[in-house]
Symmetry: C2
Subunit: 160 residues, 2 copies
């Protein structure tokens, strides 16, 4: 599995949309919802959470809406996902919180935590700017290392 939640999907779609919009106009939740066929009330709640996480700023009142809170080249997919779904965690336990029956007997924590940090890394290396223009011309400087492009031949095993 490892599927991310629909709310996270919606958040990414909206953030990408806003990354494409001009930086000083605000777009309403309803407008975005209609563009992509997303339940408006739900998207609203998602956007509110993004505001609370300081990824968006909201403009209240008539003709209000949302705007990115920062440079789309610096906001990453990881930021969005963590704002919605909470911190990425592969295991039930973390260095602080041993929320697991077999914590003391467990021998697989450490390697899994390493894997987790590689996953966070994968999420953090894709910026919203990249989402907004999915086919960057070769040589376009996008504040991100290049190994993210080049769809990883997914080594030995059957990926599916």
């Amino acid at each position: 599995m490892l599927r991310l939640s629909k709310k996270a999907d919606y958040a990414l779609i909206a953030m990408r949309h806003l990354a494409g919009a001009s930086a000083d106009s605000s777009v309403s939740a309803r407008e975005i919802a209609e563009s992509y066929g997303i339940p408006a009330e739900l998207l609203a709640k998602v956007l509110q959470r993004l505001v609370r996480s300081r990824l968006l700023v909201s403009v209240q009142g008539t003709r209000g809406g949302y705007r990115l809170a920062g440079d789309p080249r610096l906001l990453t997919v990881a930021d969005v996902i963590q704002a919605i779904d909470g911190p990425v965690a592969v295991t039930a336990c973390s260095p602080d919180d041993h929320g697991c029956e077999q914590y003391d007997r467990c021998e697989i924590r450490d390697p899994l935590w390493k894997i987790k940090s590689r996953i966070v890394d994968a999420l953090a290396t894709v910026s919203l700017a990249e989402l907004a223009e999915p086919a960057p011309a070769p040589g376009t400087p996008v504040a991100v290392p290049m190994y993210v492009r080049g769809t990883a031949p997914a080594p030995p095993q059957a990926v599916e």
Copy 2:
């Protein structure tokens, strides 16, 4: 989130345990379950699934149990997780199956698929052998690229 299921946890714990056991003796489900405080019936079903996926072989009857089906250096965490939770998928849709309302409007698929393949990659580069000996002596040859060790700083290169 991105949390993996408890069944997958149990599977990894069991597989690691078996990777540590001698290769020609079989270990029963109950034995493993008791070692780690895992519900026996549940673990049994997990192990059965691993047999069906050809990661384990089972020995029936009294003093039966389970054995790894292959070299622990070649079996990876990705294999185990995919056997239990099904193919890793970050999005609801895949190149074949557009299982999503906003498939045609959606612009974030491709980058997310790239991220997915990076995640699979992270899972596939950790072998059961590595799980079994979490602190490999420097220089130990374990059929796996070395950038997986060296925890977090996430080396900005290589991958391929």
